[in-house]
Subunit: 409 residues, 2 copies
Amino acid sequence: MKPIFCLISTIAILSAGLARAQERPNDAKRAVQKTEGQPASTNVAGAAYPKIHGDLSVSFRLKAPDAKKVTLQLGKAHEMSRDQDGVWTVTAAPQVPGFHYYWFVLDGAIVSDPASETFFGWSRPCSGIEIPSRDEDFYEFADVPHGELRRRPYFAKTTGEWRQVFVYTPPNYDANAVTRYPVLYLQHGMGEDERGWGVQGRVNLIMDRLIAAKKARPMIIVMEKGYARKPGEPAFGLPRAAAGGARPGEPRRPFATLEELFINDLIPMIDANYRTLTDRENRAMAGLSMGGMQTFAITLNNLDKFAYIGGFSGTGGGFDGAPFDAKTAHGGVMADSSAFNQKVKLVWIGIGTAEDPRFQRAVKGYRDVLEKAGIKTVYYESPGTDHEWQTWRRCLKEFAPLLFQDPPK
Amino acid sequence: MKPIFCLISTIAILSAGLARAQERPNDAKRAVQKTEGQPASTNVAGAAYPKIHGDLSVSFRLKAPDAKKVTLQLGKAHEMSRDQDGVWTVTAAPQVPGFHYYWFVLDGAIVSDPASETFFGWSRPCSGIEIPSRDEDFYEFADVPHGELRRRPYFAKTTGEWRQVFVYTPPNYDANAVTRYPVLYLQHGMGEDERGWGVQGRVNLIMDRLIAAKKARPMIIVMEKGYARKPGEPAFGLPRAAAGGARPGEPRRPFATLEELFINDLIPMIDANYRTLTDRENRAMAGLSMGGMQTFAITLNNLDKFAYIGGFSGTGGGFDGAPFDAKTAHGGVMADSSAFNQKVKLVWIGIGTAEDPRFQRAVKGYRDVLEKAGIKTVYYESPGTDHEWQTWRRCLKEFAPLLFQDPPK
């Protein structure tokens, strides 16, 4: 349970892990239809490449007439070939459906594909490709009533800065001006920011469908940035963010500054500006990867404010598999499992079956310790998906219906 | 008045024009303070470069160890130098305050700067840098009540596709659930999309301040994408968009498909989902560059729906300076100037004094023809700014206070 240190090694695992699982497993391969292919939906308008073929292999192109070497980084490195016009091309093996980040390495420089939209990931704007799924459409546009994704600036006293938050309001929020709604605080992962769930995650499309199907209660969802430091605290950096922005040698609880910002700035601002239900039984928090670690750190230290907890490929145990005792961890809030189960309505843990074995061991291991200590959990595995957005879209689809159901459905 | 053809030459003019005017004129130069410099606010978190110096010169860096040649394109080309670690650097001359697009050319490939946020411009995600202004803060964060920028999906029957619209709702829109508001439809320029005004333009920050200062009426602002084609119409392309998406050889009014989408899909959707005032005297349209051309094309053909018209560096005359007769143009709606002046509450035209002379001649020339024909206009020049967002931010600041004032203030 040393999230500060395990964050560092996580980057290396991510790079290696995505390569393995992003390619579609053999048993799931469809008939190869390499005829024409279709431009990816993530391409900029008019761009013919990246082109997705019938078997979900993908062809990439980059014009770089004077380059010596160009490599596509899509999970793993794919060396590209130059034609006589200076256009570099490669076709990557069939990909798992969902969203994958990618980029080119062009004579040693990491660059985005000018033919693709960029998405904030890997701590920079990064190309991304949406591989269509034949089996799932729960995150696609549908003819159902739509909520809104609202961007709002606010000043955070904790950090002394203007920040921007995204707020999903459910369909008909404006039409019915008296109804109040429960709130889910939903965090992105390391290297991403408050835009992640709205763009890569398609949170609004997923929720619009769940609400239309009456599978989830209409709720407000708040998406903030998982980085916070006070004036004078060390410069931005993920391990330091995990350390709560502390100065070297000054121990603080993990994500302590972010926690302070949530409790003293963000939640009061949301409750003042939106028609929220403000009691703990109407407030949930969840997050993916680092956002899951933040969720356990913040909720378990503030159980007077949260009753529902979700970790998507991220838990209160970090990723390092260190010894963990449910009786003493998290300030001892789980020591009395029966009281904890009474108080906390949901501890939900999910992971993709194609994630790095270290991640799977850490997440499952944390869940096993909780269960052995008598803490009730709900556990979900996303079949065939890696430490990527398809896992987390599915996690949200499974998690949201369980929220704010007391007694549970 | 052949916007279809003039659009094509516009791209060439833009490239040349931005180079000249983007550098700060000598008389405005401040004392050179090349000490440390500050990271641009548009950098990704933690990136030290691009670094803006005290005299508003800017240093750029790109790591590309194996590159043969790297050029910075910021208005004009700036050749970069390689150090022994494979890092390429250049310092560009002092820049005019405001937002400038830029990119690198790396061994022949056009690439974004991984250290900067990207912005959709030039028909692709493009790096951008915000040069701070010592004289103006009307587009900066301020401690005033904030509106929201809302993203909403909707299905457009005209084009048979899901589209996304951004809607600015003024401060306290939710708190006062009975007030209805006038609506401004506000269009981006060529190569940009519906995100432009919210991100590069900072429309919400400008309006929040104007409304707090009681300089503008609280209003709803709708930002859509300036490209529309029906199923079966030719593939995406700006000249074709201007042609209304017509098949070759099939003449249509400029922007005819976009007009159809506005009238039959967008406006009804907005009026159904937001608390709008729906009469023509409470509906305005404005746009920048191509968006200005769209504005004149759509409003002048639908004066039963619009009473306020704004062209920011773009008019109903295009940019080609072709002969233009106010009596016969635009279907003859201006033939009776007194009736036109009675009906249309505002024809507002603005341009930057550092824009390409051809643009200035075209915009001023259009305005002169209108005035000579007895059509009342309001004309504004943005001092020292080019065909760029600083011009258009200022245009909005000048234009918005004149809207929905009948009788005028």
